[in-house]
Amino acid sequence: MPEAEYNATELMIINAARLLKDGDQVFVGVGIPNLACNLARRTHAPKLQMIYEAGVIGARPNRLPLSIGDPTLVSGALSVCSMFEVFSLYLQRGNIDVGFLGGAQIDQYGNINATVIGDYFHPKVRLPGSGGSMEIAAWANRCYIITPHQIRRFPARVDFHTSAGFLEGGDARAKTGVRGAGPQAVVTNLGILKPDANGELVLAALHPGCTYEQVQANTGWPLKQAEQLEYTAAPGAEELRILREELDPQRIYI
């Protein structure tokens, strides 16, 4: 493996991009997920389509969007609809293949907290709240989470269920009847966690140079390993070139 230089953000973006399939309809936010989608489009998934919760379908931005509602997403897009329409006709209707999620805490069963640290009514730290993530986590066919691997971000149980992963595990999610399959991968700077048959996040892959012990030390529950632990390929030169030269030349996110 050549020793290409890359940072943690680049590593996460590139590994997230690799999870996307050609033709995926992706509900996407700005920043890292946006870069992952654009990277996938320029490599293995040219027919991937980006849908923004602001109601923009098939954006073709001329510059790196700085907010979820950046005007560059609108000019030259295929379609623009209202927020109610994008949540009902696209997301709730089941037209979204992939949703990206983030949050302050992700737990053992892939549940996310983006609402509050501490008690909801007497918050220790008040976070921004759900936005669309409650619905994205439930209704997109599959979801991905991208986050740095730090122990405070990976507690065994989240303080608040902003959006549903596999709840308490087992068939808890299936029993709610929500249509989407839930979080399929958590991409971090150390590796990739994936749910096992019980909905518990286990270590599925390690990035180059990372160890199980390192991941366990940054995870708040006894972390199982997948039966077939994998090792991700290091970011390729071409992936890095596209990311650095074409997608974020000013290094705003990377």
């Binding site: 921004p128 709240g129 936005g131 608040f160």
Partner: protein
């Protein structure tokens, strides 16, 4: 019948202490000028509802206009947090009521449609449903899963910024539509601000573009650059520098006071604000021209 009036007059007439205000706009068309005018007029005890409170509600909370916020995402989009909302909630000085995005806009959709509530599918995440008693459940009478419902929201006043309107308030909007239309139809009174007041013939040349009809509009105000530092598609870009700066300004009371003194209390209206903003900034934010291909309605 013309409904044209100044923004200060419209706010005076339609926004009262204690009102539930919905200043619409999802990242786009956020009516900053109206928020500033509310601050200038010293209106108090407002319930401020918005899916994404954005800087404008943070400023209104900082200025002491609000007793409660209703929201679904309280952050500085793409930048960070809204300090005054966050602190108000953390220290108990600000009441709040919270939804997911779809819950929030479904409340408007129900209000706009004259329905008592809107249903949505379950999401599996129960904590917010438990925390907010206005989330309820309804049985599916066709035998499927129970649905989650939220009640209609009828703001006392909606403030909606648009690209162009005629003097009666028939408005063309393009770009990100957010919840502009739902807010206008849901509210009891509507203040419409527009970048341009155009002849009725322009509106009538493309009736499918008229998302808000005069019928629901109480006052029409001609307010160029109303949305700055937010943006108006085709007219000016988002002033991202200010969104970054607010992160700093909002950190302590003195710098917020200095900001309000200079940019809100220190100017009479948006025209003065704009003059103060200066030609250079305006030029920097002006986009190039990219016109829609026309459609033929036909002369029948």
């Amino acid at each position: 019948m013309s409904k044209l009036t100044s923004l200060s007059e419209a706010i005076r007439q339609h926004v009262h202490d204690g009102d539930l205000v919905y200043a619409a706009g999802f990242t786009h068309l956020i009516p900053f000028a109206a928020g500033h005018e509310i601050i200038r007029q010293g209106i108090k005890d407002l319930i401020l509802a918005r899916a994404t409170p954005d800087l404008i509600y943070d400023q209104m909370v900082a200025a002491g206009c609000a007793r409660k916020v209703i929201f679904s995402y309280s952050g500085n989009p793409g930048v960070g947090s809204l300090k005054w909302l966050r602190d108000g909630i953390q220290n108990g000085s600000l009441e709040w009521e919270e939804y997911s995005h779809f819950g929030m806009i479904s409340r408007l959709q129900a209000g706009a449609s004259g329905l008592p509530f809107m249903p949505m599918r379950q999401t599996g995440a129960l904590d917010l449903e438990k925390a907010n008693p206005l989330y309820r459940r309804v049985q599916d009478p066709y035998g499927g899963e129970d649905v989650v419902v939220v009640p209609a929201l009828h703001p006392d006043v909606a403030i909606v910024h648009v690209q162009r309107a005629d003097s009666e308030g028939n408005a063309h909007i393009w770009g990100i539509l957010g919840e502009q239309r739902e807010a206008a139809f849901a509210a009891k009174r509507v203040i419409l601000t527009a970048e341009e007041i155009v002849d009725e013939d322009i509106i009538r040349s493309d009736p499918n573009r008229t998302l808000i009809p005069s019928l629901v509009v109480s006052a029409v105000c001609h307010v160029p650059w109303c949305a700055h530092p937010s943006y108006t598609q085709g007219y000016y870009d988002r002033d991202n520098d200010f969104y970054l700066r607010w992160e700093e300004i909002s950190k302590d009371e003195a710098s917020v006071k200095a900001y309000l003194d200079e940019w809100v209390y220190g100017v009479k209206d948006r025209a003065e604000y704009l003059e103060k903003l200066g030609k250079e900034t305006q030029e920097r934010l002006k986009p190039g021209v990219r016109l829609s291909a026309p459609v033929n309605y036909g002369s029948y």
